[in-house]
């Protein structure tokens, strides 16, 4: 019982994820700033921001549905943090591994977006409503290529369990080269989930203020911001585990450190991507996802099917 609580609340659960996600946000912001020729924040800035927001007053609009408005951020954070219990971090085996956990991880990653939608919708602000509708519209576009490219990698490993995928790619490291197109697609599609440029359409500042988060303040806003960071970390860990899990065989301590650096490398790639582009319009974004990302994901799927037939006979 105490062990389970330790897993859930401290490591690798809430506390560790929160701290690590704030570190990842710092890395993201620093790289973004340096690429833009700015100095960027000091290392404690993300922690200071978080603590400051926690100390601020929570303002709930009178017209908003109080319960839904308050519950949505918690729901989002919980589901994002839960994912961490199912991802291998220091060895090839995750804490609670079962066959099919990768499907559950992907679905848990979808929950925050839906929670943002609910929170934004029930805050009754016009900007928030437009933002939340945009968020869900976007969901249907990036989710398909994201799932397809990750599942293509698991297809080659011939399993639905993340731990077994990790074992497969650490024993056959060269096979992960086949997944490079899938990795690129999932990185791009994941920017849509994180609502970052070029897919920051749901919280486009110059159009709809802060999108679904417009009415949020204080603790609830802190939780929402943390959720986005946790999503970024969880996604990066997932990508690292599926596409290049090579550090995990080096033993618990070294493996953990190497793996965390791999995760931060994915975060760095994400910030590089968002530096070099402008925000797309929602129609352009959906066109791009369906006309470009999905076909490439299909090719990846096909490639992996053929490879599986040839290599693993």
């Amino acid at each position: 019982m105490i062990r389970e609580l330790f897993y859930i609340l401290i490591f690798p659960g809430l506390l560790f994820v929160s701290i690590f996600s704030l570190v990842a946000e710092f890395v993201d912001r620093k790289i973004y700033a340096r690429l833009q020729n700015r100095i960027g924040p000091p290392w404690f800035q993300t922690f200071a921001d978080f603590v400051k927001l926690l100390g601020k007053e929570d303002v709930v609009p009178t017209a908003a549905n109080r319960r839904m408005f308050g519950v949505a951020p918690l729901f989002a954070l919980t589901s994002a943090v839960t994912v961490f219990l199912y991802i291998p971090l220091w060895s090839t085996e995750s804490l609670f591994s079962f066959n099919g956990d990768i499907i559950m991880i992907l679905y848990l990653l979808t929950v925050p977006t839906l929670a943002f939608f609910i929170g934004g919708w029930y805050s009754t602000s016009l900007y928030a409503r437009i933002g939340s509708v945009r968020g869900v519209t976007q969901l249907f576009a990036y989710e398909v290529p994201l799932f397809m490219s990750i599942l293509a990698a698991t297809l080659l490993a011939n399993t639905w369990s993340l731990s077994e995928v990790v074992v497969f790619y650490t024993t056959h490291p060269w096979y992960s080269l086949f997944n490079i197109p899938g990795f690129c697609i999932s990185l791009i599609a994941f920017l849509g989930k994180l609502e970052k440029t070029p897919f920051d359409i749901p919280d486009a500042e110059t159009e709809i203020v802060a999108g679904a988060f417009t009415e949020y303040s204080g603790r609830l806003l802190a939780i929402l911001k943390l959720t986005i960071n946790v999503e970024m970390v969880v996604g990066s860990v997932l990508f690292a585990a599926v596409f290049f899990p090579f550090g995990l065989t080096l033993g618990p301590v070294l493996g953990f450190i190497v793996f965390m650096f791999e995760v931060l490398a994915v975060v760095a790639l994400l910030s590089l991507l968002r530096t070099v582009v402008a925000r797309l319009r929602i129609d352009q974004m959906i066109n791009f996802c369906w006309k470009f990302l999905v076909p490439v994901a299909f090719v990846q799927l096909l490639l992996n099917l053929i490879m599986k037939g040839i290599l693993l006979r």
């Binding site: 833009q36 016009l126 359409i201 500042e205 159009e207 402008a278 925000r279 352009q284």
Partner: protein, 411 residues
């Protein structure tokens, strides 16, 4: 929202996309814009009236503060009108210095615009880069005039500061760097896919519409209207300087971007010519304190378009009437036409593409009905009394407040 599928959302007077207060009320159907209502007047400062109460020299500094970005444009425009009434012929060297500062100002204004445009479409990297480079020209302006924005270099009859040869060298050096960077931005604007996707085909304003709605400056030139006061009605030293008027046939925001970026290259050309051909001689002639009776209209090609000032003198120390028409007033009408059948996401960039400066634009125009009996003109004292009475009627007595304050301070 529940009963119909039509949203009406406010963009402004306070909104992240707008740098100054300005009201846009957008009727939306899904993401599509069905109609836009524009409301000006959130930043009326009564500058024209204030000008009538001050001397010509004081007005010069007041007028410079009409706009934070094109401050030199407004002050030059005003000073030209006054000089025309007074019949002062300004020394050549002063005219060249005015031209030089004007073009440096154009460079800083266009670089600022490029950054703002980048920010409006979520391309913050462009914002950071252009504003970093803008520092070069800001430093040059600070070196020349002592100030980064309100230069205070104009005075009736000439300019206040001369340019030393070392300063000229520094300017040329800065301009070389800027030219290199601008070439890079031209490359970015013509190659970066997401940028082109967001800009081309957005905010279309065809030649006929631009003429009909009286667009000016880069907005008009991007719709193919070949019009530039610097060439058509040369002022300062422009008649002796060779430059091209940039036009573009894209008719959209992309065209406006290209026009502005290419105008930057022309500005560098003009700056180099100014420094090369600058004649020696005095920079100032003495102007009388009292300006003779007369009136004049002065035109000036500000970075945002044609700026018009009207000055009327009754022979005293103070002008009888000053009228300012900032370029944004001419362009803001076109926004409605540009936004027709567009998406909400295009709104910020379309508004930004005219390079609006709403605070400069705010002038009060009252359309009075001659037959109505409700109209009356109040004197200054009567207006003051009306204001005090109005506040008293609403329970605010400012005299009491200040009394209380004094008592509390004495305790």
């Amino acid at each position: 929202m529940h009963d119909s599928d039509k949203f009406k959302i406010p963009m402004g007077p306070q909104h992240p996309a707008l740098k100054e207060p300005e009201g846009f009320s957008v009727a939306l159907k899904g993401e599509k814009i069905m109609g836009v209502d524009i409301r000006l007047g959130y930043n009326h400062r009564g500058i024209e009236k204030a000008c009538e109460e001050r001397s010509y020299i004081q007005d010069l500094y007041l007028i410079e503060r009409v706009c934070g970005i094109c401050s030199h444009s407004h002050s030059t425009c005003f000073v030209q009108a006054v000089e025309e009434i007074a019949g002062i012929s300004v020394p050549k060297r002063a005219l060249y210095i005015r031209t030089l500062v004007a073009e440096l100002e154009r460079v800083h204004s266009h670089l600022l615009w490029l950054g703002v445009a980048g920010h409006e479409i979520g391309f913050d990297t462009l914002l950071m880069y252009t504003w970093r480079d803008r520092e070069i020209v800001m430093d040059i302006l600070a070196m020349l005039t002592g100030n980064r924005v309100n230069y205070g270099i104009n005075i009736i009859g000439g300019v206040r500061r001369d340019i030393a040869p070392e300063q000229a060298r520094d300017i040329l050096k800065g301009v070389d760097t800027l030219e290199e960077r601008t070439k890079y931005y031209i490359e970015v604007a013509s190659e970066e896919t997401t940028l082109i996707k967001r800009l081309s085909g957005v905010g279309v304003l065809f030649y006929d519409d631009a003429l009909r709605l009286d667009a000016v400056g880069p907005t008009a030139r991007a719709s193919g209207i070949n019009r530039d006061v610097r060439r058509d009605d040369p002022y300062a030293a422009y008649s002796e300087i060779k430059f091209d008027v940039i036009t573009d046939m894209h008719c959209d925001v992309y065209g406006r971007t290209l026009v502005r970026v290419k105008e930057l290259m022309e500005a560098y050309k003009i700056i180099r010519q100014c420094i090369k051909n600058m004649p020696d001689g005095p920079i100032l002639v003495k102007a009388p304190r009292k300006i003779p009776v007369g009136e004049a209209i002065s035109r000036y090609e500000a970075p945002r378009g044609e700026d018009v000032h009207y000055v009327k003198s009754n022979g005293g120390e103070k002008p009888d009437r000053v009228k300012i028409r900032a370029p944004t007033l001419a362009n803001v009408q076109a926004v409605k036409c540009m936004l027709k059948d567009r998406y909400l996401a295009d709104m910020p960039i379309v508004i930004a593409a005219i390079d609006p400066c709403f605070s400069c634009t705010d002038r009060l125009v009252a359309v009075r009905n001659a037959h109505s009996s409700n109209e009356k003109i109040l004197s200054w004292e009567a207006l003051r009394k009306y204001g005090i009475d109005w506040h008293k009627a609403h329970g605010i007595d400012l005299a009491l407040v200040s009394d209380n304050f004094r008592k509390r301070m004495e305790c």
